[in-house]
């Protein structure tokens, strides 16, 4: 499974890309493969304040439903509204067009508690 070197990861199979003033998040290639075809994504609302670990959204596939957790504390500053009409981006391009939302981190140190690519690959090795 593809897990780009420059990203941070959570044990819940989400990725975090550190950006100016915050982070962009999504689900990993491993997660999209396990979910199967995604048919609906419930996005968080821009402006919502979230704490690390909060449920901020839901992803439905033909097979199951799974929750999206905030990998960092902060405020939701952007959401990928294209996913409403094109949830398949999560399958086709999980690290690009399939991004879910952006968070302005209130505790940037939390980034250090996430997994690096090598550790995440170990976690998902079968």
């Amino acid at each position: 499974m593809n897990a780009p070197e420059e990203l941070h990861y959570t044990p819940d199979h989400e990725w975090v890309r550190a950006e100016e003033g915050g982070a962009r998040i999504g689900i990993t290639d491993f997660a999209q493969d396990a979910l199967g075809d995604v048919v609906y994504v419930q996005l968080p609302t821009v402006g919502t304040t979230v704490a690390k670990g909060d449920t901020i959204g839901e992803i439905e596939s033909t097979k199951s439903v799974s929750e999206v957790y905030a990998p960092l504390s902060g405020e939701i500053v952007a959401v990928n509204s294209d996913l409403a009409a094109a949830p398949q981006h999560l399958n086709e391009d999980p690290y690009g067009e399939g991004w879910i939302c952006a968070i302005a981190a209130s505790a940037p140190d939390e980034l250090e508690s996430l997994l690096n690519a090598e550790k995440y690959r170990e976690l998902t090795a079968t």
């Binding site: 199967g36 075809d37 048919v39 609906y40 439905e60 033909t62 097979k63 398949q88």
Partner: protein, 354 residues
Amino acid sequence: MSLRQSPLRAEHEELGAKLVEFGGWEMPLSYPTGTLAEHLTCRRAAVVFDVSHLGTVLLAGAGTYELLQETFTNDLSKIGPGRAQYTHLLDESGSVVDDCIIWWLNEATFEVMPNASNTASVRDAIGGEDTTATRAIIAVQGPTAREVVARIAPDAAAVAHFGVARFAYHGVECVVAGTGYTGEDGVECAVPAGAAPGFFRDVVAAGAIPAGLGARDTLRLEAGLPLHGHELGPGITPVQAGLNWVVAWNKPAFRGKTALEAERAAGITRRLRGLLSASRRVPRAKDRCLVGGTEVGVVTSGNFSPVLERGIALAFLPPGIADGSEVEVDVRGSAVSTSVVKPPFERLAGLTPH
């Protein structure tokens, strides 16, 4: 307990299938093409399913016809040798123990095909020989299914809708039925285990893409077809499930007939209906149905309709509720708007802009 394996297991692995447990078997959930593409290919062209997990119970000899007539709800006198019939096995309370297809092979030879997990219950009721392990069942379904099968087995492709026939494949005797579980035309072939991998590979080479149980479930739901354990099962009668046509009321007797007649006389208290979501949100089995804030029923199966690109569901609702009525479904705490519709759902394509 270890899971049972299909004779096509090696083919599925080679094709990169995701395998899951289903009814005590390890079977393909999907192939790398994905459930949505497999589903849409079945609606537009042809797919091939391995459904070897379905049971086969072989019964032959004098008295078999009478035994089946006294046991199952449907009426074999409406068909004859060389035909298939969908039927139910009930318990004395009228609950559906299993829904089966009976293949009437010749005068006194029948193959009864239960759901994987109900094969033992069906054998308890009718006896017979469990020949499940001796063959694979390979279903080719879709508008071009017969064209695809005709390229490798013209005799099999020529079987009538709900017909049953023997055919030879490279000298191996097989059986074909013009049946399926997708709402599309197609055939289901019983191929001896040793010859099954070759037959399956040839069907794929002839143009059918392999499809897994994920697509089989979305296809049957979109077609409004019941799944035992969801729309049929303990406490559920064929009448509640809207399957009166499966019940031959004029037969002198069949198991569960007394209870079923009592229910019909008293009137049913719930009936299976279709729900079409106003959005892509998907009601799921066991979600509550509400009208005006009052709970009125429960979802039995729900998923995404790839044809309509909306959530769809089957649900038990009060019998009087009219088509077009608004029903709210509680999907994990959020209210999803749906309307009551008459399945099959895929027939609504083009009628329901969104």
